[in-house]
C-alpha cells in the first residue's frame, strides 16, 4: 500500500504522462510578481485586489499593483497552509457553505487585519488592499468584496454587470451601462492616485491583450489533433500569468509565456511527443479543475491512457473572441478601450443564459478537439459553475452524442472532494467510453466516410 492508497499508480505508469515544460516557469513569475506587490506601497503605488474578470487593465494603466485575490488563495492552498485561514473565516461566522474562495479570502483579510499571518512564509503574503475591484456576474462577488472592504477598510468598486438574457434586445444598453460605469472607475482611479488617467498606457496594454488572445486561439487550433500534445494540467499551469483580471496578464511577460507555450506545442507536434503515449480516450473538462487534485488528474490520465484535453470556458479563455462582431475583427480594439473593456466585462460566461453557455463553453469549445466524452465537475460551493450542469450534460449527450459524467468536487475546499470517488467513477467512465469506441456501431461509423 502506498501513501496514496490502493489505486496508486507506480512510477512506470506515471511516466506515461508527459507534462509540458512551460508551466514550470510560472511559479517564479508569480513569486517575482508577489514580491513586487509587497513592495508596491513603499514605492508609492496603490494595491488592489481584483475579482473575477474585472478590467484590471484600467488599474495597470494607472500603475496600481493589482492581484486576483483567488491567485493568492491558490498559492496558499497548494502549499497546504489554507486550513487556519479558512477556519478563521468560519470562526468569524462565515458559513462553510459559502464559496470556498470567498471564505479563504475573507479569512485571509481577517488575519491580515489582526497581523496574524505568521504561519505563512513571506512569499505567500499579499499586502492589504487600498481598492477592491469586482463585478457581479456571479451574484455573491459584491457581497464578498463588500465584506472584505468592511474588514480591511479598502474602497470597493463593484461593476454592476447585467445578467445577459435576451441579448438581442438588451446588449446595446447593457454595454452602454457598463461603459458608463467604467468611466466612473477611471475617475475613481484618478482621484485615488491623484494623476490623470494614462490612456496611452491603456492602449499599449490592450495591444498586449489582443496579442495574448490571438496566441491562445492559435494554441487552441494547434491542439485540435489526436493524440493530444497538451493536457488540461498544462493549460491550468499557465493560468496564473495568462488569466485576466490583474497585472500579470497585462504585461509582455504573459505574451512571452504564451509564445513559449505555443512554441513548445509546435515542437511536440514536430517531434511526435504527446501528453499521454498510447492515448485511447480524450476527455473534455467542463468547469475548473481543482488544483489540489492535480496529481489525481495526472494519475487518471497516465493510468488510463486518457488525455483530458482542456477546459471549456471558451470565452473567458479567449478574451474578445465572442464579441468579435461587436468590435471586429477580434473583439479587442485599443482605439476603443472603454467599449472593449465593457464588452469583455459583460461577456464573461457567468453572465450568460444557459443557451449561450452551452453553445460557447461546450459546442464551440470542443469542436475539433475530438473529445470522446465530457466530464462535468460541479463545484459544491460555486453556484455559477454548478449552475445548469445537469441540463448542460444532458444536452451534450443528446445533441452532441457525447458520453458525459457529472462529478462533484469543489474548486478549493477539499472537504467536498473524494479521491476514492474521483478515481472510481472516472475510471469507470473511461472504461465505458473505451467500450463505446470499440463497439461495432462505433467502428462502422468510423469506417464510413462522411
Amino acid at each position: 500500500m502506498t501513501e496514496k492508497g490502493e489505486n496508486a499508480i507506480d512510477e512506470e505508469q506515471r511516466k506515461a504522462f508527459n507534462p509540458m515544460r512551460t508551466p514550470g516557469r510560472v511559479g517564479k513569475i508569480m513569486d517575482d510578481y508577489f514580491e513586487e506587490l509587497r513592495g508596491a506601497r513603499a514605492n508609492g503605488r496603490l494595491v488592489a485586489w481584483t475579482f473575477q474578470g474585472v478590467p484590471a487593465e484600467l488599474l495597470e494603466a494607472m500603475d496600481i499593483a493589482s492581484i486576483q485575490a483567488v491567485k493568492n488563495n491558490g498559492r496558499i492552498n497548494n502549499a497546504g497552509l489554507a486550513a487556519p485561514i479558512i477556519q478563521e473565516a468560519e470562526a468569524a461566522g462565515y458559513s462553510e457553505n459559502i464559496c470556498s474562495l470567498a471564505r479563504a479570502n475573507i479569512g485571509y483579510a481577517l488575519l491580515l487585519d489582526r497581523g496574524k499571518l505568521d504561519h505563512l512564509p513571506e512569499r505567500l503574503l499579499m499586502p492589504k488592499p487600498d481598492l477592491l475591484f469586482t463585478m457581479n456576474d456571479c451574484s455573491i462577488l459584491g457581497n464578498w468584496a463588500y465584506e472584505v472592504g468592511r474588514i480591511t477598510g479598502a474602497e470597493v468598486y463593484n461593476i454592476q454587470t447585467p445578467y445577459m438574457y435576451d441579448k438581442e434586445r438588451r446588449f446595446e444598453y447593457c454595454l452602454s451601462y457598463v461603459e458608463d460605469q467604467l468611466g466612473d472607475v477611471v475617475r475613481l482611479l484618478e482621484r485615488l492616485t491623484g494623476r490623470p488617467f494614462n490612456w496611452e498606457k491603456l492602449r499599449d496594454i490592450l495591444l498586449i491583450i489582443k496579442r495574448s488572445s490571438q496566441i491562445k486561439r492559435e494554441i487552441h487550433e494547434l491542439c485540435k489533433r489526436s493524440p493530444s500534445v497538451r493536457s488540461l494540467v498544462d493549460s491550468m499551469g499557465i493560468l496564473g500569468v495568462t488569466w485576466r483580471a490583474d497585472a500579470l496578464h497585462c504585461r509582455p511577460e504573459a505574451v512571452r509565456v504564451l509564445e513559449d507555450f505555443k512554441r513548445e506545442i509546435e515542437e511536440r507536434i514536430e517531434r511526435g511527443v504527446v501528453s499521454v503515449p498510447g492515448e485511447e480516450v480524450r476527455l473534455g473538462w467542463i468547469a475548473q479543475m481543482p488544483w489540489y487534485a492535480k496529481d489525481d488528474v495526472t494519475d487518471l490520465m497516465a493510468k488510463n491512457r486518457t488525455t483530458i484535453v482542456g477546459c471549456g470556458m471558451y470565452g473567458a479563455y479567449f478574451p474578445g473572441w465572442k464579441i468579435r462582431d461587436v468590435l471586429p475583427p477580434d473583439g479587442i480594439d485599443p482605439e476603443q478601450p472603454i467599449k472593449t473593456l465593457a464588452a469583455l466585462t459583460i461577456s464573461h460566461p457567468f453572465g450568460d443564459p444557459m443557451e449561450d453557455r452551452f453553445q460557447e463553453t461546450i459546442v464551440d469549445w470542443q469542436e475539433g478537439l475530438q473529445c470522446d466524452g465530457l466530464v462535468f465537475a460541479s463545484p459544491r460551493t460555486c453556484r455559477p459553475f454548478a449552475c445548469w450542469m445537469p441540463d448542460l450534460k444532458e444536452r451534450a449527450e443528446q445533441e452532441l452524442g457525447m458520453p458525459c459524467i457529472l462529478i462533484e468536487d469543489d474548486h478549493s475546499d477539499k472537504s467536498f472532494y473524494s479521491k476514492a470517488q474521483f478515481d472510481t467513477r472516472l475510471e469507470a467512465f473511461v472504461e465505458s467510453v473505451k467500450a463505446r469506441k470499440e463497439s461495432p456501431k462505433a467502428r462502422e461509423k468510423k469506417a464510413t466516410p462522411t
Binding site: G93, I140, Y165, R170, Y177, T381, R383, A386, P390
Partner: protein, 352 residues
C-alpha cells in the same frame, strides 16, 4: 384568472396586476424534492430546489406565466432550468435590477429595465398597461401594505395578541390571495385584533430576521409560540419585507415603482447600500419594538444571507442585544434540536 407565479425578491407585482394578471409569490412546497434533484445540486437553496421540483412535476402548469427577478445565482439557475424543462408554462420572464442601490447610475438603469419589463408584460397580457390602471394597482397594494403595517403595529403594542405563526400565515396568504379580496379580510382581522385585549406576556419580546424568498419552517414559529415568546417585529420576507416599502405615488407610476426598489426599506442581503447595513436595520427594529432579542433564520445555502450575518450579529452583540442563528434546511432538520436551542435562547433572555 390568469395567475403569474413570481419568484425572487422585489418583483414589481403592481405591473402584473395592472395588466389584469394575478401575481402570486410562489411559496416553498411541502413536497419532498425528487425530480428536481436531477436538475439542481444540493448546494442550491431549498426554496429554489422546491420551485424547480414542483415545476418539473408539472404542478405549475396551471400558471399563465412566471416572472423571476434575478437576485442571485440560485434564481438564475431556476429560471434556466424551468425555461428549458417546463415549456407548458409558456410565458417565462426574468429581469435583472442592479444590486448596488446607492450608486447614482442604478436608478437610470432600473428605469430602463422597468419599462422593458412593462412592455413584455403588456405583450403577454395582450394590451397596454394604462397609467391609470397602474396608479390604481399601486394604490391597492399600498392599501394592503398599510393594513399589514397596522397589524404589525398591533403586535408591537399588544405582544402575543397574534402568534408568530398567525402573523407569518397572514402575510403569506396575502402573497397569494388577490389583494382586492384580501384587504377586506385583513380589515376584519385588524378589527378583531383591536378588540382583543392584550394577553399576559409570558416570554420575551423577540424579532425574527431573515429567511429570504420563503417562509421559515412552521415549527420555528410554533415553538416560539409554545414557549410564550412574543414576536413583536420581524425582518422576514414572509413578514415586514412584504409590506414595509410603500410605492410613492408619482405622476409617472413607473417612477414610483423604481423609487420603491431603489429606496426599499428592508436591508436586503442580495442588495447593497452604503447608508446602512443589516445590523443597523435590525438595531432600529429592536429599539422601535422594544425587543429583547433577535433570532436570525438563514435558509441553508442562501449565500447572500450568509455574508450579511456575521457583521449584523456582531453589531447586535456589541449593542448588548442577545441574538442566535438558526440555519434551516429542508432535509434532515432536527425538530428536537430547533426546540432545544430556541428554548435555551428564550430562557437565557428571561434570565437576564
Amino acid at each position: 384568472m390568469r395567475v403569474v407565479g413570481c419568484v425572487g425578491l422585489h418583483v414589481p407585482e403592481e405591473l402584473l396586476h395592472a395588466a389584469g394578471l394575478h401575481p402570486a409569490l410562489l411559496p416553498e412546497s411541502e413536497d419532498p424534492i425528487t425530480v428536481g434533484a436531477d436538475r439542481l445540486q444540493v448546494g442550491f437553496c431549498g426554496y429554489i430546489r422546491s420551485v424547480v421540483d414542483v415545476g418539473l412535476k408539472h404542478k405549475l402548469d396551471f400558471l399563465d406565466g412566471m416572472v423571476m427577478h434575478d437576485v442571485c445565482m440560485h434564481v438564475r439557475a431556476a429560471h434556466g432550468i424551468l425555461e428549458r424543462n417546463s415549456p407548458q408554462v409558456r410565458w417565462q420572464e426574468c429581469f435583472w435590477f442592479p444590486p448596488d442601490l446607492h450608486k447614482p447610475r442604478t436608478r437610470a438603469f432600473v428605469v430602463k429595465e422597468m419599462a422593458d419589463l412593462k412592455h413584455r408584460v403588456e405583450l403577454h397580457a395582450g394590451g397596454p398597461i394604462a397609467d391609470g390602471a397602474l396608479h390604481n394597482s399601486i394604490r391597492l397594494y399600498n392599501r394592503f401594505r398599510g393594513l399589514l403595517q397596522r397589524l404589525d403595529g398591533l403586535r408591537r403594542s399588544k405582544p402575543g395578541v397574534l402568534s408568530a405563526s398567525q402573523f407569518i400565515d397572514l402575510v403569506q396568504a396575502g402573497m397569494l390571495i388577490p389583494k382586492e379580496e384580501y384587504c377586506g379580510l385583513l380589515a376584519r382581522v385588524i378589527g378583531e385584533v383591536e378588540a382583543t385585549p392584550s394577553p399576559p406576556l409570558r416570554g420575551p419580546r423577540l424579532v425574527l430576521s431573515g429567511h429570504l424568498c420563503g417562509a421559515p419552517p412552521a415549527e420555528i414559529a410554533r415553538v416560539l409560540d409554545e414557549l410564550g415568546a412574543a414576536v413583536v417585529a420581524d425582518d422576514l420576507w414572509t413578514g415586514s419585507w412584504y409590506f414595509a416599502t410603500e410605492v410613492p405615488e408619482r405622476d409617472d407610476p413607473l417612477e414610483g415603482l423604481v423609487d420603491a426598489y431603489v429606496h426599499m426599506t428592508p436591508v436586503c442581503p442580495t442588495r447593497h447600500r452604503d447608508d446602512r447595513d443589516l445590523g443597523d436595520h435590525l438595531l432600529e427594529i429592536v429599539r422601535r419594538s422594544d425587543a429583547s432579542g433577535v433570532v436570525f433564520l438563514i435558509m441553508k445555502f442562501c449565500e447572500p444571507h450568509y455574508y450579511a450575518y456575521p457583521a449584523a450579529s456582531k453589531k447586535l452583540r456589541d449593542a448588548g442585544i442577545p441574538e442566535m442563528l438558526l440555519e434551516t434546511e429542508r432535509e434532515s432538520a432536527s425538530k428536537g434540536q430547533v426546540e432545544t436551542r430556541l428554548q435555551a435562547f428564550v430562557e437565557a433572555i428571561q434570565g437576564t
